[in-house]
Amino acid sequence: MQLSRSARIALRVAAGLGFAVIYVPLALVLVNSFNPDRSASWPPPGLTFHWWSVAWENTGAREALWVSVKAGLGATAIALVLGTLIAFAVARHGFFGRDAISFVVVLPIALPGIVTGIALNSAFSTVLEPLGVGLGMFTVVVGHATFCIVVVFNNVVARLRRTSGSYEEAAMDLGADTFRAFVDITFPLIRSALLAGGLLAFALSFDEIVVTTFTAGPGVETLPIWIFNNMTRPQQAPVVNVVAAVLVLLSVIPIYVAQRLSADTATESRI
């Protein structure tokens, strides 16, 4: 399409504005963490590192971070196992109800988080609590794993569809049994898809607030819950600013790793 010069310039300006809209809020969070003033008024009266050291000493934020990491690792581990199992079933077998399974895998992330949240909450409190298992870390991990399965599944199933089963067959012709073929052939083929899926699952769990609200007991506070609880407290505002800035900086890591792992995972959408 031959665009006129003015149309090109207009598109450039519009795209520039679009990128500004995307990045200005993130930049503001970074700048605001150096704001000596407790209010978010603009422009900030000066710049200070003071709140960064205050935040470093803040035990509440540090404990919440640790809880988030543990929950994320637990959920990722479960999602890796279950997602891979389903991916193998769907990609390597034909059976009745295969499409239904792909649908059920997506459901926990497709439905609004609050629906998933109260469903799991009422199930946990009616079934698990009489057994002596209250809401806590365990239920958070179970809840997170449920919606993390889909990202592992998506990554692994895409990889399996691209690699035919003939490598495994060749290995078996050469005398390898099912397990041997998996260890030597299949696993190396899907390894980077597993890594990408696990990374996405961890990020998804790390960021989740709604399902966490309904599956965490009173004593379990993940980082998003901590931010949410402290966001409206003027006393805590500077620490929240710093934690938010740290999270913006950390978000560069997964995109970099995903980019290194494989080009196709980086350009696919997040789920």
């Binding site: 399409m1 665009l3 993130l26 603009w42 077998h93 439905l111 109260i118 350009t267």
Partner: protein, 296 residues
Amino acid sequence: MTSTAQAAGRSPVRRLAGTLHRRPRLRLSLLLTAPLLWLAVLYLGSLAVLFISAFWTTDSFTSEVVKVWSTDNFEALFTTPVFRQVILRSVGVALAVTALCAVIAFPVAFFTARIAKPKWRPLLVVAILTPLWASYLVKVYAWRLILSQGGLADWMLKPLGLSGPGYGLTATVIALTYLWLPYMILPIHTALEQLPANLLDASADLGARAGRTFRSVVLPMVLPSVAAGSVFTFSLSLGDYITVQIVGGKSQLIGNLVYSNIELNLPMAAALGTVPVVVIVLYLLAMRRTGALSSL
């Protein structure tokens, strides 16, 4: 005799591998048992109980759930003015967010897919994707900072004699648009990138100017991707209640109603929760006709 002797000679692992190889049904059921227990029993089971509980009621004195089948909650949904208002407002917000996302996403995607130099394009895609990884809460928090009194929005609009919208429904629409924008840019970018250049050349050869080519060639081919992106922007907006709590001021969406009913009246919360689910399913069915779902 020989076959048993052979079998006995093999290690148990090897025997198991052989059995699994010969019996694909067994292999399949071993693969599926754990995931199905998790998803079908735990997740679908809880959902089913939740939806059944929408037909129960709550004793107004004791707040105990009364497990007697009734459609009172659903009648209340349609007859209580507050519920009707909130449902309509939520759908309105979700549609507004979707429309805004499409309007902002199109020029950005057009630039990244067709105007920018090819060697910059992958980098621009990463630039669109990076905010997806930033925390949801941090992004809403950013808008809380921008829209706060004396914040960035007020400062920018002051020379024009205006002030920012403050916290409220407008702020909610802005924050949600910001949150879901990448979900709209990416599918449009992909569609525009895959648009064959010779179609555009053909259109130009036949005498069409840029505007005409855009309307008759580009738009029809990209529309399914816009629809695909809208599935995310619409359904994510419809279910949200955290953003409303942070920047929405006093306004309420359907998610907030569900949230405020959970403690006191779980059956009512369940009934309210079916509303976004039903609306999203209807939206998906409508979008299926555009061919959007196959490009998800």
